[in-house]
Symmetry: C2
Subunit: 202 residues, 2 copies
Amino acid sequence: MSSPAPVDFYFEFSSPYGYIASQLADGFERGIGRPLAWRPILLGPVFKMTGTAPLVSIPLKGDYAKRDFVRTAKMHGVPFRAPDVFPINTVAAARAFYWAHDQQPAKARELAKALYRAYFTENRDITPPATVVEIARSVGLDGAALATALEDPALKERTKREVDAAIAHGVFGSPFFVIDGEPFWGVDRMPMAQRWVKTGGW
Amino acid sequence: MSSPAPVDFYFEFSSPYGYIASQLADGFERGIGRPLAWRPILLGPVFKMTGTAPLVSIPLKGDYAKRDFVRTAKMHGVPFRAPDVFPINTVAAARAFYWAHDQQPAKARELAKALYRAYFTENRDITPPATVVEIARSVGLDGAALATALEDPALKERTKREVDAAIAHGVFGSPFFVIDGEPFWGVDRMPMAQRWVKTGGW
C-alpha cells in the first residue's frame, strides 16, 4: 500500500488563527490519517491580490476579530496572549522555515511551533532575523548557518516561489488546507475537512 | 422566574449562510434555551461602511465561497440550490418582514423561512415586491395590505432604522448573533455561541 498523499497546510506566522491551527495540527493529522505538509506563506502579497487588508484593520470586523482570537483559542484549549505589536512582517520567519525544511523537515515543524509560541504566548516580536535565529538555535538548529542563509538571495527566491504557488492554488487566508484540490479556510473548517476526508468528499 | 432575554439573530435574505442559519435557527433556539429575535438587515450599507464587497465578487474568496455554500448546506442537511441571480437586492423582503413582524411576530418568522426557501431552493428571485407579496400570501398574510405597505415611507423608515441599529451594534455580516453584547458571526460560530450561553461566557 502506498502512503497517503499529504495535505497542504498553509499558514502565516502573524496569523492568530494560523497559530491556533498549528497547535491543533498534530491531532488533526492523526484525525485525517494523512501527513500534513506545513507551508508558511506571507499574506501581504495575497491581500494585494484580493484587494483586502489585514483583518484587524477592517472597520467593525477588526474589533470582532480581536475578541474572536481569544475565545477561539480558549475553546480549543490553546494558550494565547494577544501580542503588543500586531500584525508583523514575518518574512524572516518564513524563510527560516524553508531553510530548515530543506535540511530536516521534522525540525522545520518544530521551529514553526517555537516561532508561533514565542509570538503568541511570550509576546516576542519575531520580525527581526536575529530573533528568528535565536529561536532556531533554541530548537537545535545551526544559528550561524541560518543567519548566513537569511541573507542569501536563493532562500528569498525559494520563499517567494512558495508564496506565488500558494496564490496560484487559490490560497487567500490562514490557516488554509488543501486536500486533493479541495480548499478549507479557517480553524472552523478543520472539522469539515476531517469529515471530507472520512467520507471521501460526501 | 422572568423569561430569558432574547438573542438577536441578524440575517440578509441574499446570504446563503444566513439561509442555512435560518434553517437551523429553531434547533439553535432550543439549544441555547433563549428566544431568537429575527432581524433581517441589508448588507449593502454594511459593505459601504466596512469598505468591503459581496463575498462572491472578491478574487479567490468568491470561488471558494461558492463551493463552501454547497458543502456547508450539505454538512448541516439543509437543501440548497445556488440561485441563478445572485446576489440580489432584498429590500422588499426585509420591509415585508418588519411589516409582518409588527402585526404577528410568529408569522414574520414563517414569512422569512418561506422567502429564503423560495430563493435558495426554488431559484426564485425574491427582489420584485410582487414576488414578496405572493410569498407572503402563501403563508396566510394579507397580500393587498402588504403591497400597500411596501409603498409606505413609514415602512421604509422602519427598515432603515433596523439596519442602522444593526450597524451601530457592530453587525457586519450574515448570519450574525448578539448574545448579551457578545457577537457571533457565521454558521460556524453557532456551536461556539451555544457553548458561550451554557458556560456563562467561559
